[in-house]
Symmetry: C2
Subunit: 489 residues, 2 copies
Amino acid sequence: MIYGHDPRTGETVGAALPETDNAGVDMIVSAAAAAGQAWRSTPADERALALEAVADALSAHVDELWQLADEETALGEARLRGEVARTAGQFRLFAQVLRDGAYVEAIIDHADPSLTPPRPDVRRMKHALPGVVAVFSASNFPFAFSVAGGDTASALAAGCPVVVKAHPGHPNTSERVAKIVRNSLPYPDLLGLVQGMQAGIDLVKHPSVVAAGFTGSVAGGKAIQKLIDEREVPIPFFGELGSVNPVVVLPSAPVEGVATGFAGSLTLGVGQFCTNPGLMFVPENDELRKALVEAVEGTSGGPMLAERIRDGYLGGVERLGELRLLAEGKPGAGSWAVTPKVFTTELDTFAEKLPEIGEECFGPASIVVTYREISDLRSVLERLDGSLTATVHGADADEAGDVVEVLGRKAGRLIWNGWPTGVAVCWAMQHGGPWPAATTTHTSVGATAIDRWLAPTAYQDWPEALLPDELKDDNPLSIPRRVDGRLEV
Amino acid sequence: MIYGHDPRTGETVGAALPETDNAGVDMIVSAAAAAGQAWRSTPADERALALEAVADALSAHVDELWQLADEETALGEARLRGEVARTAGQFRLFAQVLRDGAYVEAIIDHADPSLTPPRPDVRRMKHALPGVVAVFSASNFPFAFSVAGGDTASALAAGCPVVVKAHPGHPNTSERVAKIVRNSLPYPDLLGLVQGMQAGIDLVKHPSVVAAGFTGSVAGGKAIQKLIDEREVPIPFFGELGSVNPVVVLPSAPVEGVATGFAGSLTLGVGQFCTNPGLMFVPENDELRKALVEAVEGTSGGPMLAERIRDGYLGGVERLGELRLLAEGKPGAGSWAVTPKVFTTELDTFAEKLPEIGEECFGPASIVVTYREISDLRSVLERLDGSLTATVHGADADEAGDVVEVLGRKAGRLIWNGWPTGVAVCWAMQHGGPWPAATTTHTSVGATAIDRWLAPTAYQDWPEALLPDELKDDNPLSIPRRVDGRLEV
C-alpha cells in the first residue's frame, strides 16, 4: 500500500492506497486509449471548452485541494492556493491556443503543373499523436507539474488521452485531483491515474503509450529512458531533469538587491525548485560578500517534501562541504526540515573541481564563486552542463561581453536582473535547456508545450470532402495558415 | 581504401579513397565546430545568400556531376540531372525560409504587472543547435539525400556546421560534391566529409556533435541509435528508416490507371525509393488482376546500387516467395541487376503472416493483397507498421470509410489517386511517419525540415541592446511574430 506522509511529522496521512498492478495499468491505459479515439476527432473549439471546464473545477475546489496538498507536502496555504490558480490557468491558456489554431501549423501548397516535376496539391497540419501520453508527476509541484499539470493540460489540448503516474510524495492529492478532472471531461477515461513504482514501469512499456513526459532527477530520467530503449517501438521522451541555473553578477550590479534577491530565490519553497539558483559567480567584493552573508543568515529552512529528498539534500551539502561555508540560514522546524547553506570558493578552485562540483544539489544550497575579471569567466562557463535558466545581473549591458554568448548556449531561458524561480505561463516561455536540463528542445511550460504531443500529416491531392477543416480551401475555422508560401492571419 | 563500383559491371571506378581515421574525424569535426561559431551568428539573410551560392555551384557543375554519379550508381542521365536540380532547389527553398523568418517562431509577451504573479517581459525565438550536425548519406539519392542533400541544406540554413559520412555506394561523387559546396561557402569548413564505417561511428560519438540525421535501413538506424545511447550526452537522432507505403485501391478506382501507375511507381529507379509501394490492397476483381499482370510484365529491372543491396533484395524476394507470384518484369541487364516481382495473397492469409510479411523489401518487389469488403480492411491496416506514405485510389471519397482514419495514424503523407514515389520539395511536405518510417515526428523534406536543427531560447527582461534583431520591439527584420498573443504578419 502507498501512504502520504506529513513532512512536518514524518507520520502517514490520508488513506492507504493500493499500488496499481500490471492488469490495472493495462485496464487504465486501454480505457484511456478508447476514450482517446473520440477525443482525437473532437473539434478544437470543443476541446477548448472541456479544458475550461477542468480549470473551473480545479478553481472551485481550491479550499479542499490546498489543505489536502499541505498535509502531504507542507508547502503552505499561500503557495498552494497560488499553484492551484496557476494549474487552472494552464488549462485556460491551452484553450486559447486551441481557439487560435496556429498550433496545427496549417500549410497549403496548391498544385503547380508549371514546375519540373509538376507539383501536386500538398497540405500539411499537425494532429495528436495516435495513442496515450504517459506523464510522470513531480514531487515539488503537487498541482502544476502533477496529475493536472502542464504535461497533462498540453497533452489533453493536443487531443491525446493521458495516464499519470502519481508521485509518492502526494498520493492522496493526486487521487483527488484525478477525480475532479475526470468528472469535468466529456470522457472521464481521458485521464487515468496509476500508483506505485512498478506501475510507472508498466505504464511506459505499454504498447498503447506513444510518448512520455517526466519532471524529476537526472537519475530518474535516465531510468525511464532505459525502459523506453527496451520497448519494441521507441517513443519520444520529454524529460525535464536537473538544473543548476548559473547566475553571473557583473561588477555594476547593485550589491543589496543581488544579496536579498538571491537569498529569497534560493530558499523559496525550501529550495525545491528546478529553477533554484544553485551557482552564482560574483566579483571579488567585500561589501557584496557581507551583504550575501547577512541575507542568507536571515533565511529559514523548512521541511522538505520527502525523507528521500531530505536525505539527498544532506548528501549534497556534505559533498559541497569540500568548499568553504559562506553562510547558513536558520534551521527549519519539522521532521524532514533542513537548513539553507551557501558555500563559496574562487573561480580557479571551482574550475578544478568541475564537472562534479557543477552538479545539482536539490534544495536550498548554492555555491558562490568569486572571480577577478569578467574575461576569466568564459572558459569556466563553457564547461558547465546545460541548465533551464541562466541569469545575469548588472547595470550595464555592454559589461556582459562574452558571458551572454556562452550562457545563450547553456540555458533555455536567459534572465536579466531577475531570479530564475517563478516561471511565467505564457506564449513565449521556454522551460527546457540543453542536457541534462531537458531531454529534447521542447518546453514543458507555456503555449508551445502542446507541440510535444503533435505530429504532422501531409495530404497530397486529397479530396476536399475528406480534408480536415483546418486545411479546407475556404478556411472555415479562420486559423492562421501559410498558403503558397505566404503566411496569412 | 574505399572504392566506388559500377553497378553495371561490378568493377571499381574512380579514385581509391582513404578511410578517415579517428584523428581525421576529430580534426574535421573540430574545424566544422570552429567555423560554426561564426556561422551561428551570421544574419539569416547572409546565410540565405550563401545557400543560393551553393545552389548555383551545384547547377553549374551538373554535366560533370551526373556522369560521376552515373558511374557509381547507374541511375542514368535523366534521373541524375533531375536530382541535381532538386538538390539545388532544396538550397533555394531554405534561402526563402530564412528570408521569410517565421522559422525562428518569434514570440513576444510584454510585461504585465497587473497579473498575479506579475508577468515579466518574455521573448522567445529559435536558434541553431550549438554544435555540429552529423549527416549519414543515403545510398539511393547520391545528391538529394547525400553530401549536399536535404539534411545538409536544412542544417546549414539553421546555422549549424555539418559533417557528412559519405555512403560507400558513391564515394567519389561525395568527394566532388563536398568540394563544390565547400568552395561556395563563406567558411569552407562548415561542411566536412568523412569516409568509412568506423569514421561514421567516431563521428556520431564526437562530443562536438549535437544532432544526427540519417536516411537508411531500420537496422542501420538502430545501430546509430545504439551508439547515441552510449554517449555521455545524448543527442537527437533524426532517422528516416524503412517504409512499406501501403496503397488501398477502392472498388471504384479505374482498373487501367491503377495497374500502369502501380507498375511504374514500383519499378522507378529499380524500386530503390523509400516511398516505393511495397504493399497494395485491391478488391477481388479479375479485370484488375489481369491488368496488373500485364503492367508488371511490361516493366524491366536494372542494376541495383550496391552488391549488398542487390543481395538484400534477393533475400527479401525469397521471403515473399511463400506467397504466390502474381507477375514479374523483364530481368535487367548488368552485374547487380534484379527483376521486378509482384506477389499476391488473400487478406486473411496476409493477416496471418503479420507482422513479418509487412516488413519492407527494398527494391522493385511488392505484395498485392485481395480483399472482399472494404470493411474487412480496417483490422488489418491497424496492424501495419508506420510508413512514410499511405495511398488511396478511388473515384468516390465516401467509399473510403474507416480506411482513411486508420491510414491517417499509420503514415506521414496521405495520397489520393497518385503514387508515393516523387516527394515534392515545398512548404507543406511531410516526409516522415510513425516508427519505423522515422525516429521522430519531424520531416526530412520540405521547408519545416529546418526545425530539426533549432532550439528555442526565452529572454526574460533582457536588455533591448542584447536582444537578437528578431525580438527587438520595432521588428527591424519585418518577420512574422506573435506579440501579446496575436500573430502579426
